[in-house]
């Protein structure tokens, strides 16, 4: 028996909506239906952050509040969540919040249009971790564009705000009550809502998801909607029926067993960050350059794989690490090497009734050499021109195995087999690396586009191998410090 409405908390109000279409966005709901117009639309593609709001979701017995881009967050997906907008922000006596006051005092706003989004990002950081360092603030603002201030006064404001502790903050104080309220709204049922023949479905559990996929073979599976959201807002595509999956607990599991890290398909980049940092020490810096903070809070590793993009950030990294993928359907599941999932541009090894359930990443053998590099026009919140991920095993100075994977170099994320062959059974030396660099031209003939020319892509891909060599052998810095 499906529930015919979504239920969520919007600031201090409980909202129940039956008429919700697959592609309805949270931002339009806030601005047009609720008339909460402090949240702005700057780009409608999740890149400027003017629409940043907090979404609180139940996690491990508490609520985790995360910044998201309301413009590409689809409304149906906030079922059983707490949505917090800038209008709800307040200080202890009801005046300005410490973050807001600091922004005023340090002249952190000029035109003011990005400001509500900036305030929400800083507030989330302040509440969860504290705006304690410039680096932390910059990371929190990776998804917030400001065209007026040059950011300097915003950084000053954030550092100032961190002098006030979040202990007595209103969202902290309310947390238990909100948790209880959300729990009370949860009936564990499948949710099915429609508007104008556009349907959104939230399965009750993973088994239910498999059943629904069997029934709706043309359905769009929506995870973090950091890509699907743009199909709606930019390409005006009809994604109905849309099946939402990020609320499914089974798909949010993270485990480390028998030398394998397993990430459920609903695990967001932010959820995965701690386990990735713990087991793959070469990845934290790379990980923090995937999208902006909002995108990492929404987007999932499973979605990054499932959409098959040749310029997704995680596939080359996971291919280099020899990851595998579990695909599931009602009849059962199968497990394949990740690299085999990508068949061609826009074509993946997934049947219409299958879904990506989990990705499995084997831990690296002691002594292996690993690196992941992302090259883009802008350091943060940009799409790769080239992404290179390398995993080698070197024994007694000899390369015994090599996995070199690249993004942005072909129609799919792909291994450089010729370059790998040039390294295996050779000494780990500059001469071998130069041979592998030369062999890359057999592996790839990249395209020219607005992100980079073919010439640059080829040159950089080769140079990344040299950087890898220099970093693993030399003492001189071979790249810019973070």
């Amino acid at each position: 028996m499906a529930r015919g409405e979504i239920r969520f908390l919007l600031n201090d109000r409980e909202i129940r909506l039956g008429a919700v279409g697959a592609g309805d966005t949270l931002l339009d709901h806030l601005r047009l239906d609720q008339r909460l117009r402090g949240t702005k639309e700057g780009c409608a593609e999740g890149d400027c952050g003017a629409c940043t709001v907090l979404v609180g979701r139940r996690a491990g017995g508490t609520i985790r509040y995360e910044t998201v881009n309301a413009c590409i967050r689809l409304l149906a997906s906030v079922d059983l969540c707490h949505v917090v907008t800038v209008e709800y922000l307040r200080g202890p006596e009801g005046g300005l919040h410490a973050v807001q006051q600091a922004m005023v005092d340090h002249h952190g706003s000029q035109c003011g249009f990005c400001t509500p989004g900036v305030v929400m990002s800083l507030y989330a950081l302040w509440m969860e971790a504290g705006c304690t360092s410039v680096e932390a603030v910059e990371t929190a603002l990776q998804g917030n564009l400001c065209r007026c201030t040059g950011y300097e006064p915003i950084i000053r404001a954030a550092l100032e705000a961190s002098k006030t502790a979040p202990d007595g903050d209103f969202l902290v104080a309310e947390r238990a009550r909100v948790l209880a309220q959300l729990a009370g709204m949860n009936d564990g049922a499948r949710v099915m809502v429609s508007r104008d023949e556009s349907t959104a479905i939230l399965p009750a559990n993973a088994g239910d998801l498999a059943l629904i996929l069997g029934e709706y073979k043309d359905a769009t599976i929506v995870a973090g909607s950091t890509d699907v959201g743009l199909w709606v807002t930019k390409h005006m595509r009809d994604i109905s029926p849309a099946i939402f999956i990020t609320h499914l607990e089974e798909l949010k599991r993270i485990s480390v067993e028998e030398g394998i890290v397993t990430l459920g398909a609903g695990v967001s980049y932010s959820d995965a960050a701690p386990v990735i940092a713990e087991h793959f020490p070469h990845l934290p810096e790379f990980w923090s350059r995937i999208g902006g903070w909002q995108v990492r809070n929404m987007g999932t590793v499973g979605g990054n794989i499932a959409n098959g993009s040749p310029i997704g950030d995680t596939p080359p990294v996971l291919i280099a690490l020899d990851a595998e993928l579990t695909l599931r359907r009602a009849e059962g599941s199968r497990r394949i090497p990740l690299e085999d999932f990508f068949i061609d541009y826009g074509k993946q090894d997934r049947a219409p009734d299958e879904f990506v359930e989990a990705v499995h990443i084997p831990l690296r053998a002691a002594g292996s050499l690993n690196a992941a590099y992302k090259i883009s026009k802008r350091r943060d919140e940009d799409i790769s021109a080239v992404c290179g991920a390398f995993s080698l095993v070197v024994k007694d100075g000899m390369v015994t195995s090599a996995r070199l994977a690249f993004g942005g170099m072909a129609a799919t994320p792909k291994r450089a087999t010729s370059a790998e062959a040039a390294l295996v059974d050779q000494p780990w030396s500059e001469a071998s690396v130069r041979a592998a660099m030369a062999a890359l031209s057999d592996d790839f003939s990249p395209l020219s586009d607005w992100r980079a020319s073919a010439e640059y892509r080829s040159r950089v891909a080769a140079n990344l191998l040299l950087r890898f060599y220099l970093e693993t052998t030399g003492s001189q810095p071979a790249r810019l410090s973070a």
Binding site: R37, H107, C111, G112, E138, E455, L480
Partner: protein, 781 residues
């Protein structure tokens, strides 16, 4: 000086020269600041959406809008045939900028029709259903193609000439010719274009427009509708950023909204999606600067010849004055003894480029700095030495290519102080040592100055009006022709008024800019907002003040000189009358408590035909030192440190001015580094949203960022409280980053070759320059 009145011990809250907060700061941070899309819509509001062309240059063979008309929610569809009067929104009345293309489209993304529907989403979906067939014509997309095709110019070019340049170049001990490609820039104001028109009785219509130029929107809409200007009211409380992108460009949206609103007698709002905003509205001009410079062994410039070719797009728009200003700044801070400069404003089949912070000036300045680099690398000297050797100086070295004498240069002192405070020399020599080690990472440092001419070069724009009311309760209502786009203009002008009356700032409320309150205004542009409107507001305040003084002297029988306005109240002879009391008494005595103020900049004139005059009232100066690191394997870079010393005269508001300097610098860095406009061979702009067009983020700003105002500076001219304009000049300080990157690149060839980095210097361009210099014989890393 005129700002010297100071009562002992006390000051009013929020007078001039104080670091007041932006008047909307509280509303910005709480989300309560209202932008046009946030306004409450009257019942019956409709939404318009534009249908854009899908050919760069073509005849419209057929246009089938049946599916658009029958789409859900659609109320009306407008094309060129539906325009009651003139199908043109050219800001210079060139009649080349139609609201809707007719018969022919001139660029990919040109508006061809508009659809009006019950909701914006419906209008947007419907607009995508048009079936238009095109017969393609030859298209010139970029500067080279336009030159090759012999494209016409969109406007008459400018020539500036002084001395005997041919002889100077021929006789020079050294001579270098080269060229530089300079990319354009999208404004990326966070609030996109929007207009909201509400029909009134008779022919009237009120338009809320996100515009820097309400009077122009008013005039152009009245021409499109075929009604008198007095029927059209344009209002704007605030914009979510403008940067020049909302000077001429809003007229199109205002016209479509007004047209639909009058036709349907319902309120109509139009707001394009970000992608359409970027595709359909103009940007900073791309330039190709060709230069030929002669110089002596010390690096002193002897003669310069330059051609400044600009991608203007399909229409004139503001390309004439933009390319003129490029020429006015082709000298930057340097004396050219013999010079000939020519502009080449080329028509291309791309969106019509427009005003953008600096208005052609930055491209001119960048050309000058390239010339300096060429000389420095040719002579093996520090570019700073070349700069200093060529600064404008005493008589004999003080005349610009447009024959204006530079009388206010403070660059010797300013650059000297910055060189010292930034420890430039020691850091440069440390960097040279670092680079000698030959690693993957290379460093560079550069100090670049800016001299920027202040005034509209169209002399008549240098006027402004203000309207000031003092109400019976002593509260003050201020209105002026300037618009608020985040630059803090409303705050600064209110500070001027607070200071005049010696009342606290919170007594003054500034209201939305409206063509009904102050007529015939100029664009809030050319950095002139505070200079012009501050003076106009001061004039209004002084008028009321004068009446109050006369009233007080008569009522309390003291001489007019014995009436002074102080922070504690108005001193009338030996007694102090609270401001409120004085106003209440004045009202009862029937004193006129409202005034219209006016200002026009004195002493400026410009003869474009002759290329001579004094187009600028004064110059604003500044300088920046930037240090960068580059990765020679990938071309990636990072700004390690920037120090800025900038001249704002005697600042009206140091906090706001500093904000303009910081923000302008970062925007300039974006222009020169990561912001790339990329058109494909069909003439489609492919970097048309923040996913593909990359403006700076917080992590792109310098790791160390020291910004100071030259506190000792005071405008030599009688500007408002001896302050200087600040909006545009700091943008050009970003050039220090480009030149620092250039030095780091040059290190791979031991600084023997000028890297000739074109812009934007993306990591790709940087890596390719590294490879090019290495191929020319530089040492391998």
């Amino acid at each position: 000086m005129d700002g010297g009145r100071q009562d002992a011990g006390t000051r009013v809250r929020g007078g001039v020269h104080s670091a007041e907060r932006h008047d909307s700061a509280h509303k910005h941070v709480t989300g309560a600041a209202e932008y046009i899309d946030d306004m409450v819509e009257p019942v019956g509001t409709l939404h318009a959406y534009l249908g854009l062309s899908e050919a760069a240059h073509a005849e419209i063979a057929s246009m089938d809008l049946a599916a658009v008309r029958s789409a859900p929610g659609v109320v009306d569809v407008l094309t060129a045939a539906d325009i009651p009067a003139v199908n043109d929104v050219s800001p210079v009345h060139a009649h080349d900028d139609p609201v809707f293309a007719e018969k022919k489209v001139m660029f990919w993304g040109q508006p061809v029709f508009a659809v009006i529907a019950e909701s914006r989403l419906q209008a947007r979906h419907a607009a995508a259903l048009a079936r238009i067939e095109y017969r393609p014509l030859d298209a010139a997309i970029d500067i080279e193609a336009a030159i090759a095709a012999g494209s016409e110019l969109v406007t008459k070019p400018l020539k500036l000439e002084r001395g005997f340049v041919d002889k100077a170049l021929a006789d020079a001990p050294h001579r270098i010719a080269g060229s530089m490609e300079i990319g354009g820039q999208d404004h990326f104001y966070l609030e996109g274009h929007i207009a909201f028109a509400i029909p009134g009785e008779d022919e009237t219509v009120t338009i809320h427009s996100s515009t820097q130029h309400p009077s122009e929107a008013q005039n152009l809409v009245s021409e499109v509708l075929g009604v008198a200007a007095n029927a059209v009211s344009v209002q704007v409380r605030r914009m979510g950023g403008g940067f020049g992108g909302k000077e001429s460009q809003p007229a199109l949206f205002a016209a479509v909204a007004a047209l639909a609103a009058k036709r349907l007698n319902r309120p109509v709002k139009i707001r394009p999606d970000r992608d359409d905003d970027m595709i359909a509205t103009g940007k900073r001009h791309d330039f190709k600067v060709a230069y030929d410079v002669g110089f002596d062994d010390e690096g002193r410039i002897l003669g310069v010849e330059g051609t400044y070719a600009a991608r203007c797009g399909f229409s004139a728009d503001l390309s004439g004055p933009v390319t003129d200003r490029a020429l006015f700044h082709a000298d930057n801070a340097y004396y050219f003894p013999h010079v000939r400069l020519k502009s080449m404003p080329l028509r291309t089949n791309t969106v019509s480029n427009t005003a953008f912070r600096g208005f052609g000036g930055p491209q001119g300045v960048l050309g000058a700095e390239r010339i300096v680099e060429e000389i420095a690398y040719a002579l093996g000297k520090d570019p700073l030495e070349i700069r200093k050797a060529n600064f404008y100086g005493p008589p004999g070295r003080d005349v610009t290519p447009y024959h204006q004498t530079v009388t206010d240069s403070i660059l010797d002192r300013l650059v000297g102080e910055l060189e010292e405070s930034s420890d430039y020399q020691a850091r440069r020599s440390a960097i040279l040592d670092f680079n000698k080690k030959g690693g993957v990472i290379r460093k560079g440092i550069a100090l670049t100055p800016v001299k920027f001419g202040i005034s509209f070069t169209a002399t008549w724009f240098n006027q402004a009006g203000a309207l000031l009311h003092v109400y019976r309760d002593g509260s003050i209502h201020l209105n002026h022709g300037g618009t608020e786009m985040g630059q803090g203009l409303f705050t600064k002008v209110a500070q001027v008024v607070a200071d005049c009356f010696q009342v606290d700032l919170d007594r003054i409320r500034v209201s939305a800019t409206s063509t009904e309150k102050v007529p015939n205004t100029s664009a809030t542009a050319a950095s002139s907002g505070s200079d012009l409107n501050g003076m106009a507001a001061q004039d209004a305040a002084e008028q009321i003040k004068q009446r109050l003084m006369e009233f007080a002297s008569e009522k309390w029988s003291v001489s007019a000189e014995e009436v002074t306005f102080g922070p504690g109240g108005v001193c009338v002879g030996s007694k102090t009358v609270p401001f409120d009391t004085l106003i209440a008494e004045a009202y009862m005595a029937r004193v006129h408590l409202s005034a219209a103020g006016f200002y026009k900049t004195p002493d400026i004139h410009w003869d474009r035909e002759a290329g001579k005059g004094r187009p600028f009232y004064y110059f604003a100066y500044g300088a920046a030192v930037s240090e960068v690191s580059i990765d020679t394997l990938t071309g990636e870079y990072r700004i390690e440190r920037t120090d800025i010393l900038h001249d704002v005269g005697k600042s009206l508001n140091p906090a706001i001015d500093k904000g303009q300097v910081e923000g302008g610098f970062v925007q300039g860095v974006g222009w020169l580094t990561t912001e790339e406009l990329w058109w494909d061979d069909k003439g489609r702009l492919r970097t048309h949203a923040p996913s593909t067009y990359k403006i700076p983020l917080a992590s792109d700003r310098p790791r160390i960022f020291n910004v100071a105002l030259a506190e000792w500076s005071e405008n030599k001219e009688r500007t408002i409280r001896r302050s200087k304009a600040v909006g545009e000049p700091p943008l050009m300080l970003g050039i220090s980053v480009l030149e620092a990157i250039s030095m780091a690149v040059a290190s791979v060839a031991d600084y023997r070759e000028c890297p000739r980095l074109d812009t934007p210097a993306t990591p790709e361009r940087v890596l390719m320059a590294v490879e090019r210099l290495r191929a020319h014989g530089g040492a391998e890393a």
